[in-house]
């Protein structure tokens, strides 16, 4: 169902107000973020006065994720939050220095908001979870474990080093890759067979394929293992894959919740894809904390028309982290606001065409 004009306007007003609050926070000499305070010295505008609406964020130009490589990482922690325990979430890092994002409570807030989108019938409160995804410095485990705990469950995890997986692929060691994938699935099978009453899981498309295939070889299935809800994300997910998963791997009694997100943004949710919509997956960012735009390939200042294809641009607006206008490594189609999410969404997310050939997607 599409959103009405009032809801869209109100959402936009909330976003503009939120932008003002967050920019004031990050650029206030008392509370602000050292990185941004330093950078502001070279601005030809005054963020505290000149940024009043979301559109005014254009003054910042484009965020470069290279700024996140290397330290000191504390320059990203706002002064007002320096006393709080801080995590670092990393992305990349197969070769060279990974990008780091500092986090204190954002992951909890993001995943609690996401939790509210999950249907109780398939993700019952109190159910235990399996986290079948990356371990280590990506820290996705931390977020998924919090989601599980927030819903009253206990989360079981596997060891999975995605950096090693990418190395195996780059070296062409496909037998080793297969063996490593089996090692990961072995761990999942062991957990599922241990009577832990697991009903929900996080996983990626490739790992779900692999888990379903293994269970099938053993005469079982995801549904027969008692799983009723799957939170799926981490890599590209096409409509065709979701359809295949629903029709052939999961069956009618298992819900799949596709998500799009990353360390910088948090989590964009989608409704369960349906056959009548050709299994189209439309993601909506948790606005106003994060905003997804689909922009013209040749002019990132221009949002494309609804239904048109462009590059995905992210903006993160939390008190912990300010990322204005970051051009993601993805592209997709711009989607109109919905009744549930009265702001723009994005569908058909896939690797940005200029990077697609050089992007290595591993088992995770």
């Amino acid at each position: 169902m599409s959103a009405n004009a009032d809801a869209i306007r109100q959402a936009r007003e909330r976003l503009d107000a939120h932008v003002r609050e967050i920019v004031q926070w990050h650029f206030n000499p008392d509370t602000g973020t050292p990185f941004w305070l330093e950078r502001a010295k070279s601005f030809k505008f005054n963020p505290l006065k000149d940024v009043q609406t979301f559109d005014d964020l254009k003054l910042f130009g484009f965020f470069e994720d290279e700024w996140l490589r290397g330290g000191p990482v504390r320059r990203w922690v706002p002064k007002a939050l320096q006393h709080k325990p801080t995590y670092v979430f990393e992305t990349g890092g197969t070769t060279g220095i990974p990008k780091s994002r500092v986090v204190q409570d954002d992951f909890r807030i993001d995943y609690e908001m996401f939790s509210d989108t999950l249907p109780e019938k398939y993700f019952p409160k109190g159910a235990n979870w399996l986290m079948l995804g990356p371990s280590g410095p990506r820290r996705l485990r931390l977020a998924v474990e919090h989601l599980c705990q927030y819903r009253g469950g206990i989360c079981f995890c596997v060891d999975l080093d995605p950096r090693w997986v990418v190395k195996l692929i780059k070296k062409g060691w496909m037998e080793h890759l297969k063996a490593y994938q089996e090692h990961v699935i072995d761990q999942a099978i062991t957990i599922l067979s241990a009577n832990h009453e697991i009903k929900c899981m996080f996983t990626t498309p490739k790992l779900l394929d692999a888990l379903a295939a293994r269970l099938d070889k053993e005469g079982s299935s995801i549904a027969q293992q008692g799983i009723t809800g799957i939170f799926c994300g981490g890599t590209e997910m096409t409509a065709q894959w979701v359809r295949f998963a629903i029709e052939e791997l999961l069956g009618p009694n298992v819900y799949i919740a596709p998500t799009y997100g990353n360390t910088l943004m948090g989590l964009a949710a989608a409704e369960m894809p349906k056959a009548e919509d050709n299994y189209k997956i439309t993601y909506y960012a948790p606005q106003p904390r994060a905003v997804v735009q689909v922009v013209d390939f040749k002019d990132y200042n221009k949002v494309v028309d609804y239904g048109q294809t462009g590059r995905v641009m992210l903006t993160t607006l939390t008190k912990e982290f300010f990322v204005p206008r970051f051009a993601e490594r993805d592209e997709g189609e711009r989607e109109p606001p919905s009744a549930k999410y009265p702001w723009d969404g994005v569908s058909g997310v896939r690797p940005f065409r200029e990077f697609a050939a050089t992007t290595t997607v591993g088992v995770y």
Binding site: M174, D209, A212, A213, A239, Q240, F244, A245, L249, Y279
Partner: protein
């Protein structure tokens, strides 16, 4: 627009993900091809055994008849293509339009496929060295009073096919008559032959459950290779290197096919000029059997000049022109990269571009590019370019003493050695880095279909083993 579906053991499956195949010269979309996903391939391959089961219900002699019927259907009939149909002329036009190969070459490849299908009984007889073909069905038999057993190593053969060379399809045509199913991952620009051949097989009475076609991206090819116990893959030298020593995969890469002129015959090189030109130029130099190196101890400059005089003037012509000798490069940037690679190598002293005077090598058009024939004279076999191969009429003429040739040529798929020197002939026969050996004036592109190509496909699919029995056995 025609929609070409994924084929899951003969059953069409309309994928939500599609790739458009476009005309190389106009950019006009010709068809949309459904894209499979890796999990789907793995899931379907649980039923691979059924492909062999349904084929084993039909005696090999009957399958051979059906394959001959399929040859005629493939060549002459209007056959289903996705949600439409396709005549032979449409097939030729579509294949040319997406691969860049001139139409007369597509027709020639069609004739070649027809010939192979039509001769299949003789080909299998030759490849099995006269084995009673019932042994392949039953798995056992008697020969000269000795029990024998040939055990299928896989119920299906997986094939990751290329886009650029419709000639390779002959390699998988003998599979169905051996009662082994087919799992085909077509090249992105050449879905036409796998679909048309499959429809011809089905109309000729081959069970549809014996064939699956999975178009898609790299993950689909990887899934085919991972889940079929026996596979053929076509790719670059890197692909060949990646699968070296893997008993599940037979990798076909560049051929580095060559003509060696022995010291006893090289003074008469002009007599063999037509043979050399044909070996380089036929099929626009795209095949692994096209010659990419001509080696001799003397007269190399004259040979290179004569080749350049013959091939240098060749220009791109429209694909429907019966005189068109060059295939277009339809993948953006590919021709530029090849030409730049050659230019880099030409900086090495001792290399001479003999075709430079005939105009630029790279011809850029709006939607495609061409590379015109290139002849490079090499003063020594140690030059980097001496062992290069590209998918257009490209040849190096390499000066090398005869007694150093075999140590210098490197892996060679087809070697035509023009010599009557018995000692040299013996060394050639014993050289293990030569696959197909022609002694005498035989073009590298002339194949005897009754002989194995890069390994015997029967040996790849069936294992001869010891087998003893007492009492009755299953038929």
């Amino acid at each position: 627009m025609i929609h070409i579906p994924v084929l899951r053991w003969g059953e069409p499956y309309k994928s939500l993900d599609v790739d458009k195949v476009v005309h190389f010269a106009t950019g006009e979309p010709l068809a949309e091809v459904g894209r499979a996903n890796a999990g789907l391939v793995e899931r379907d391959l649980r039923h691979a055994g059924r492909a062999r089961d349904v084929l084993r219900e039909i005696p090999i002699t009957d399958l051979l008849e059906r394959v001959k019927k399929a040859a005629d259907l493939y060549t002459n009939a209007e056959l289903p293509l996705g949600d439409s149909t396709q005549t032979p002329d449409q097939f030729v036009r579509m294949q040319s339009a997406t691969t860049g190969l001139p139409e007369h070459m597509c027709r020639f490849n069609m004739t070649k496929n027809h010939f192979v299908l039509n001769q299949m009984d003789k080909i299998l007889e030759a490849l099995t060295r006269g084995l009673d073909l019932g042994v392949l069905s039953r798995g056992y038999g008697m020969e000269r009073g000795v029990p024998i057993s040939y055990q299928a190593q896989s119920p299906v053969l997986g094939l990751v096919l290329p886009s650029n060379s419709p000639g390779v399809h002959t390699l998988w045509l003998p599979i169905i008559p051996m009662q082994i199913g087919l799992v085909l991952k077509p090249g992105p620009q050449e879905p036409w032959t796998p679909y048309r051949m499959t429809q011809a097989f089905i109309q000729a009475g081959v069970p549809r459950q014996a064939i699956a076609i999975y178009p898609g991206l790299g993950d689909v090819g990887a899934a085919v290779l991972a889940h079929c116990p026996r596979n053929l893959i076509f790719g670059s030298s890197a692909t060949v290197e990646q699968y070296k020593g893997n008993p599940r995969v037979q990798a076909h890469g560049p051929g580095f096919s060559k003509i060696l002129l022995g010291d006893d015959m090289v003074d008469q090189w002009a007599k063999y000029l037509d043979l050399m030109v044909d070996s380089v130029l036929v099929n626009s130099g795209r095949g692994c059997i096209n010659c990419s190196g001509i080696w001799a101890s003397r007269h190399t400059k004259e040979i290179a000049e004569a080749l350049a005089e013959r091939m240098g003037p060749v220009q791109p012509l429209p694909p429907e022109d019966p005189k068109a000798a060059l295939a277009a490069f339809t993948v953006p940037g590919q021709a530029d990269a090849i030409s730049a690679d050659i230019d880099r190598d030409l900086k090495e002293p001792g290399t001479h571009d003999m075709t430079a005077k005939f105009g630029p090598r790279l011809v850029k058009k709006e939607h495609c590019d061409y590379l015109r024939p290139t002849v490079i004279l090499c003063d020594s076999p140690t030059l980097a370019i001496a062992k290069k191969e590209y998918m257009f009429p490209f040849v190096t003429v390499v000066q090398c003493p005869q007694d150093k040739m075999l140590a210098s040529i490197g892996p060679t798929l087809v070697c035509t050695a023009i010599t009557e020197d018995k000692k040299f002939q013996r060394a050639l026969i014993d050289a293990t880095h030569i696959d197909r050996l022609n002694i005498g004036p035989i073009p590298t592109i002339k194949l005897n279909w009754l002989q194995p190509h890069e390994g015997n496909i029967v040996d790849f699919l069936f294992r001869a083993r010891a087998f003893q029995f007492e009492g009755p056995l299953p038929e």
